[in-house]
Chain length 222, copies 2
């Protein structure tokens, strides 16, 4: 598919948010997976509620709020030390193993690459740098600029405005099916990195293409 | 607390959405609870995504989409017959047992009572009538009028606009903590009917009052 630019979601797509499950398991034996899953769900829920109600708060704070709720809901004591450890881990999430090579090959083709994320700029800078990806992206865009989280159209519009490309000439890549739907509703071409083999959301959208890892994306764009 | 009007959420607050778990269990043995829970979560998620992305669809259709997704996700075959049975049950959900008496007593005090729901008008008419509550409400308000689901401020504003009361003189009652937060952000006084003894959401809101059933609400308003 001929595109001029590729915009990537960050958390879950480039960076492995579930990798913190291992740390959570050490801190809360037997509950690591439950903490990681509920935390992620709550974090996303809070971004949506705050956008719907115009009560924006940076993603770092929303993420922290979601962690506090998660532990309260699961009956786990969240010490300040545990909170600091988990949030610290979140700040330097690992990239999925195939990503760096794929991103380099896409950039070598002359494509503009960008990140468009719910994360606030400080979080994104930290995680991109830790993954050694600083030189690969033309732009690292944060919804913090518009103070609306995805799937608000204003969030997706940051991509076309900043990269000076048309949505239809841009491929939006995300591991989150709801993010794919939001991007498609906005007008982007979409590639769903369906890492967990999830069923398609029943939202009337079919991604332009789908794969399991970024290597499938590389094959699709070639 | 002196208030002039009380606005109730419908699904989960007046009408027992989890009562369909029994039917789901008959249709999908061993999976009834999982179906009911995921269905409810997906239904709410889809309302939020469609509001964020300006792709409104009536609640009845969103509810049906969520059911289709739920069965696909859980690996259950949803026959047309099963779908019709479950959706039919949804159209005539039972009210919680204490509700009718409490609503009558509140109305007898001269308070304006209303419903403000994500449900579309046809759904609300059916469920209110089936519960014998048609004469109790001054207004049965549907977000369908503004084509934005809660927690969009436009949805909550239907109450003040239609009832001609100030938000601060109005008590908003919901079993959903996120709905309480949305209503409080809008400016309503709030009473959380915390039927499932859930933890407070970490959204910076504390309800003005909290109880387990509508009987606790009756005691609070007296």
């Amino acid at each position: 598919m001929p595109v001029q630019a590729i915009i990537f979601d960050a958390y879950g797509t480039l960076f492995d948010v579930y990798s913190i499950g291992a740390l959570a398991e050490r801190l809360f034996p037997g509950k690591g997976a439950a903490v990681a899953e509920l935390w992620r769900d709550k974090q996303i829920e809070y971004t949506r509620l705050r956008t719907l109600s115009n009560t924006y708060k940076p993603f770092w704070e929303v993420t922290q709020d979601a962690l506090v709720f998660t532990c309260r809901k699961l009956g786990l004591e969240l010490t300040l030390d545990a909170q600091t450890q988990i949030m610290g881990q979140y700040a330097k999430l690992e990239a999925f193993p195939e990503n760096l090579a794929v991103l380099k090959s896409l950039k070598a083709k002359g494509l503009k690459l960008a990140i468009l994320s719910n994360g606030n700029p400080e979080m994104l800078d930290a995680v991109v740098q830790a993954a050694g990806m600083s030189d690969l992206f033309t732009q690292v865009l944060s919804v913090h600029t518009v103070k609306k989280f995805k799937t608000a159209p204003e969030a997706y519009q940051l991509g076309t405005d900043t990269l000076s490309v048309l949505a239809k000439d841009t491929l939006f890549v995300s591991s989150n099916c709801w993010d794919i739907c939001g991007a498609a509703w906005f007008g982007y071409k979409t590639f769903w990195v369906n890492r967990s083999n999830a069923p398609l959301e029943e939202l009337g959208i079919t991604p332009h293409a789908e794969g399991r890892t970024l290597e499938d994306l590389a094959r699709f764009v070639t």
